[in-house]
Symmetry: C2
Subunit: 151 residues, 2 copies
Amino acid sequence: MAPDDDASVRVSPTLDADTSFLLARASALSAAAGNTALRELGLKVRSYSVLALAAEVGPSQRDLAERLRLDPSQVVSLVDELEACGLVKRRLDPSDRRARIVVATTEGQGLFARAREAIAGAQRETHAPLTGKEQLALGDLLRRLAYADLR
Amino acid sequence: MAPDDDASVRVSPTLDADTSFLLARASALSAAAGNTALRELGLKVRSYSVLALAAEVGPSQRDLAERLRLDPSQVVSLVDELEACGLVKRRLDPSDRRARIVVATTEGQGLFARAREAIAGAQRETHAPLTGKEQLALGDLLRRLAYADLR
DNA sequence: ATTCAATCATTGACATTCTCAACGACCGAT
DNA sequence: ATCGGTCGTTGAGAATGTCAATGATTGAAT
C-alpha cells in the first residue's frame, strides 16, 4: 500500500516548497564552495566581490556599498584589507573631495583574474546537477529576482 | 552610435554573470522580505524554519540541525526561544534517552499556519517579476541545487 | 560671500550569527 | 562492567550586521 518511505521529503513539506528557503540553502552551499576555492588566494567571496568592482568599475566607496548592499562601514574594513595587501588603491575623486574611488592595482587585476577562474571552477562543481541550458535559465531567473529593486 | 548608456551593468560585468553572487543577492532580498513579514508574529525566518520542522516532522535536535544545516548549539537556543513562547515542547525520545524530540504545541501549530501564510504573501511580492510558470521552474532548479548533497 | 542642510568616509559600540571545543548523560557493543 | 561514540548543552571567540556620531566637503539658499 505504501511503498513510499517518504524519501521525497528532504527537510519538511512546506520548507521543501518554500523558494526563500531553497534560495538560502543553495546560496549557503554556493558561498561555502566559493570560499574554499578562494582560500588559497587569500580571499573570501565578500572581498572578491569588492575586488571585482575595483577592477571592473572603479566606484566610490558609497557606490560600492550600494551595489553590494553593504553598510558603508563594512566597505571601509574590506577596502582596508585589500589595500593592505596591495590589491586596491584609494584615489581621490577629482570632482568630489569627500569621495574615495576604489581601483584595483596591477597586482589586484592579476589576482582578480585568477580568483575569477577559481570561482568559475567551484561553480562548475556546485552546478553540476544542472545542464548547461538549465544553468543559463537559472541565471536569467535569478537576475530578474536579484535586481528587481533596481529600475 | 551608442544609445546604450550601459544600464545593462547592474553591479559589475562578471558579478552580474556570477550565479553564486546572484544567488546570494536574491537570497538576501528574499530573507529580508520574509523577516519583515514574520516580525509581527514574533518570528524570523530561522525560528520559522525550526517551527516548521517541529510542526511537520517532530525531529530530534540532532536531526533538526542536520536538516537545517545548523550547528547543534544554535538549535539549543532556537528551541529555547520557541519553548519559552510556548510554541514548542521538548519530549524525551522513548528509544534514546539522550535525544530530545522537538514538537509543536497546539499554539505552535496555529502560529505556524499563520506564519506560513505570511511567508507566502511576502514571496508573492518578492517573486512578482516572474510568471507562475517561471516560479515553478525556479523552485525545481533550486531544489536540485540545494539538495545536491543529499542522496 | 556666508550659512546651512546634506553627503562621504570613518570610527566605535552593540547585537546577531557562526564555529569550535569541552562536558555530563546516555547508547551500543564487547 | 567497561569503553568508544553520540546527544544536548554550555561557553568562548571570531565573523558579520546594524546603527549612531563625527570631521571634511558639497551644493543650494540667502
